[in-house]
């Protein structure tokens, strides 16, 4: 029940943010937050497919290429599992590192799909990526407080 409510809330908030967020500024990735929140405390065989499906949903909502976000969020969830296993649980700093690792993995997934399909890479600045990470981080920390 809780994951379903979280999904509905994420969908609603993503629409809300899309309207309110200033043009030209990277918005926080709430689907990444939801994927990591769901993966935390659940086994990989649930977390990874859930992240993949969430990514597909994100693709559908964005009217984009099916699989792009699916791959990105799957890699993010996998990286989060990998980081969480190696770092102490329940502390803020390891959580930050795990988030950073997952965030980088997500973008690696995007670039992998782009390379696979020989897509033109959008002209993203490192500052944009950093901004997206910084804006997503508070949501991730907030989601952690509610527990998986």
């Amino acid at each position: 029940m809780k994951p379903l409510l979280a999904l509905l809330l994420t969908l609603f908030l993503s629409g809300l943010l899309a309207a309110l967020w200033p043009q030209g500024v990277m918005a926080p990735d709430l689907f990444l937050v939801l994927a990591l929140w769901y993966a935390a405390g659940r086994p990989y065989y649930l977390g990874l497919p859930a992240a993949f499906l969430l990514g597909l949903l994100q693709d559908l909502l964005g009217f984009g290429l099916l699989g792009l976000h699916g791959v990105g969020l799957t890699l993010a969830a996998y990286a989060y599992y990998a980081a969480s296993r190696r770092l102490a649980q329940g502390e803020s700093l390891p959580a930050l590192v795990a988030f950073l690792w997952a965030f980088l993995a997500k973008w690696t997934g995007y670039f992998l799909v782009a390379y696979w399909l020989r897509l033109d890479i959008p002209p993203l600045l490192p500052l944009d990526l950093l901004l997206e990470g910084l804006l997503t981080l508070p949501f991730f920390l907030l989601a952690r407080r509610f527990g998986p």
Partner: protein, 262 residues
């Protein structure tokens, strides 16, 4: 070890699935997501609509605040400009009066002085001017207004000057009729008249305009003084007296022109 392999295997499977989906559905993009949007979009659309409404409301609120501030600023500016306009209008009127005096009465205009006080004792009729010795005013200077003669400066301080007006009982001014020959002397007859004495040969009738003349030599020639109201013979017909009403209404004077003395 086995779990790690399974995990990697699952990851690989999902990544390959994603890549495969991306490759297969690429030609269908964005038609496929669009076709499926009725299933996926309602909730985000609700959020989006709410966000739009919130944004519109906040913008309306901000705009309203902007308009209010702009309105206030414009009101202040308008008040400032109206004040400036009033000041300039008064200045123009003052200069026009000064010009009229210069043109019609005397070239020796020295200053335009504000009337800051008036003696209403009933016996004396004197005006206090807001300029004084430091502005160049001296005793003996004639004071006029566009309508006619006002009086003579009889006392000067650093920043003030006292004017003895036409109707002051101590005032005397040489006058002549505008339309005919003859000279006389007009004395002040408070509260608002002059009493002029002329030889009986001078033709005077009510309504005649009297101008300053030369006999007493304190005022430039030709400045309007007043209009004759009544003429009477005195001393067995050896003199004639004319009651004269000054052209200048002293109680309405706000500014007067000070002329150089003769």
């Amino acid at each position: 070890m086995r779990e790690a392999a399974l995990r990697r295997g699952l990851l690989l499977l999902l990544v390959l699935l994603g890549l495969g989906l991306a490759a297969l559905t690429r030609p269908l993009s964005p038609r496929l997501p669009l076709a499926l949007s009725p299933l996926t979009a309602p909730l985000p659309a609700m959020g989006f609509r709410l966000g739009q409404n919130l944004k519109a409301a906040s913008e309306a609120l901000l705009n309203r605040q902007d308009l209010y501030a702009e309105n206030q600023a414009l009101k202040e500016k308008l008040a400032l400009l109206e004040g400036e306009n009033r000041r300039l209008s008064l200045e123009v009127a003052r200069l026009e009066r000064a010009l009229a005096v210069r043109r019609t009465q005397a070239p020796g205009l020295l200053a335009v002085a504000p009337v800051i006080g008036e003696d209403l004792s009933g016996l004396y009729r004197r005006l206090l001017l807001g300029l004084g010795e430091r502005d160049g005013l001296r005793v003996g200077m004639p004071v006029t207004a566009p309508e006619g003669l006002v009086g003579l400066i009889v006392e000067v301080e650093e920043r003030r000057a006292l004017v003895r007006t036409l109707v002051d009982p101590e005032n005397q001014v040489g006058v002549r009729p505008e339309k005919g020959p003859g000279r006389g002397v007009a004395r002040g007859a408070p509260p608002d008249k002059l009493l002029a004495e002329f030889p009986p040969s001078v033709k005077l009738s009510p309504g005649d305009l009297l101008l300053t003349g030369a006999p007493l030599g304190l005022f430039p020639d030709g400045i309007p003084v007043g209009r004759v109201e009544r003429v009477e013979r005195v001393q067995g017909g050896l003199k004639q007296r004319a009651w004269v009403r000054p052209l200048v209404d002293l109680s309405l004077l706000e500014e007067v022109m000070v002329l150089r003395p003769l």
